[in-house]
């Protein structure tokens, strides 16, 4: 059996932590010893996941400008700082999917608010913490969850695809601007997963052909281990 790399003491904030990939990631990172704070909109779900995963639950909506600093305050306060931010919360847009020509402007705005502006604002609010972690040699990483829809022009995925393309490009620019400060940014496409969002987008697809969120979370955790500075003594200890 392969050695599980640990993330003991690494402080991670995850948005969209009560379903799909986000939930799987909360569990995966907790299993690896990370201290996790997660954000989601529904108070009852947040309470359940916080208690089951022994993680810090934060009720908030990343698409709401007024929630951002409240989220940042709680994340940094509960964790004592943030080393890794995972911008995972996403809005698919109109369900069922429709062509751009039939997409309401308000729906597009909502998608951009959740998938682009939210990650921008939350990253900006947590940038001080992330840079502090980098200066202290803890490593510092922002993972933005992207999609193949950010690259390929899939009909009917207009709002989502355009927002994810914007997020991916913003990730590259953040990385150019802040790698000198030691904060790294990556956009990761976890692949087609068996999640509520995927079911909403493509209700007819066979779940058996899809990746499980747990597998995607494992891969993502491995990537986080790869990108943080080596702390073998800490992370291989079990």
């Amino acid at each position: 059996m392969q050695t599980q790399r640990h993330l003991n003491g690494v402080r991670v904030a995850i948005t969209g932590g009560t379903s799909g990939l986000g939930l799987a990631l909360v569990n995966e990172l907790r299993k690896r010893g990370a201290d996790v704070a997660f954000v989601a909109r529904t108070e009852a779900r947040v309470a359940v996941v916080a208690s089951e995963a022994a993680a810090h639950g934060i009720v908030g909506d990343v698409s709401n400008k007024n929630d951002i600093h409240r989220i940042a305050l709680q994340a940094t306060g509960m964790l004592g700082g943030v080393d890794v931010l995972v911008n995972n919360a996403s809005d698919l847009g109109p369900i069922p999917l429709v062509p751009l020509g039939d997409t309401q402007c308000e729906e597009f705005e909502r998608v951009l608010a959740t998938n682009v502006l939210g990650p921008f604002r939350l990253t900006r609010a947590l940038l001080g913490s992330l840079a502090a972690s980098a200066r202290e040699g803890r490593g510092s990483l922002v993972v933005n969850v992207s999609s193949d829809a950010a690259v390929s022009a899939y009909p009917q995925w207009g709002a989502y695809g355009a927002s994810k393309a914007a997020l991916a490009h913003m990730t590259r620019i953040w990385n150019e601007e802040l790698s000198a400060q030691g904060v790294r940014f990556v956009a990761i496409d976890p692949g087609d997963m068996d999640t509520p969002m995927h079911a909403a987008a493509l209700p007819d697809s066979d779940p058996a052909t899809l990746k499980s969120p747990a597998t995607a979370a494992h891969e993502l955790a491995e990537t986080i281990c790869d990108l943080l500075p080596a702390r073998a003594a800490l992370r291989y200890a079990s």
């Binding site: 007024n66 305050l73 940094t76 306060g77 001080g128 502090a132 200066r135």
Partner: protein
Amino acid sequence: MIAADQPVQRPRTARLLHIDEHGRMRHAPRSSLVELLQPGDLVIANDAATLPASLHGRHSRTKQTIEVRLAGKPSLATRDVQLFTAIVFGAGDHHMRTEDRPLPPAFNTGDALQLGELSARIEQTFDHPRLISLRFEATADELWRGLAAHGKPIQYAHLSEPLAMWDVWTAIASEPVAYEAPSAGFAIDWQMLSAFEQRGIHFATLTHAAGISSTGDAELDRRLPFDEPYRVPVATEQAIAAALCAGRRIVAIGTTVVRALEDSAAVYGSVAVGEGMAKLRLGAQTRLRVVDAILSGTHEPGTSHYDLLHAFADKAVLRRADAALNAAGYRTHEFGDSVLIERASSRYSCATRPPAGAGVFPEMQGLVARATPRILRGFSPPASAHVVQESDRLPPA
């Protein structure tokens, strides 16, 4: 001076009065700060994020309306996260000058306070009706949730619009432990940090729980600043040691940084990694061990921040600076203009003065004669000289 009444951290028109080590002054746009610093300088800022430390609520026994302003803490450690020192006002809000705010009801130890969803109990009362310590009856996570939902940044009457948290978080805001913004840091943005790097200026941070700047009561104000916990990261200790050995300047962004660094040096002989409690009151009598220059807001005479500037420049120079600030219409308070004060040359003893020309032949310093660590030479263990400076008038919460 004119009160800066808009919460803009970096207005394009922000100005800076530069006072050099000989007391010479000149006006500059604050955006030119990078050019006023020297390659090799080590700039140290306070990266504390600001708590929404103002909580409106009710004193349960008398049903009276109160505003609690969290003001201090015995430690940064998370183990006692519920315990705070606080200043309490009666009815009213920030639109009323703090001097005019009514007193809170007379408190007894154990009294319950209801602050939004948060419940707290008075842990201790002191010799002033506005000063208490309180304990929140909540887990750490519940407390953060309650503060996020109900707390507002502490604010004074010169700003009429309610402050949002983004108004008071500096660009580098990290752990939320400050009660009021470490506002000298408003001058810093990411562009400036890049410019530092390009000019060979080093940058490091510490985290200092900046306390409240005014209580509205002259007697309480005289006790400010309260003891403030701070934490120095490993990288900062190393950067300071390297700068001291090489005789490079250390520039503090704000009074809280001076207080933390000088406290650490007074206790440990040099700035040491880890947590400490800043108790020193700095002023004209202080012989600085570490900091060579300070970027600060423009403070009004009579405040503890203003007193601290006397550790850098003599009274006559600061008086001239005041006149210059007033004549040129500088803006004051947390969103106002800035001063950059280099420590007066007379305020270096021979042992602590940076060696002239240090850094010109850095390679020689290791080979020919090791640069003298400034601190260790000047250090004597904490003795009576420091004891008289301690602000031990606030009983430990």
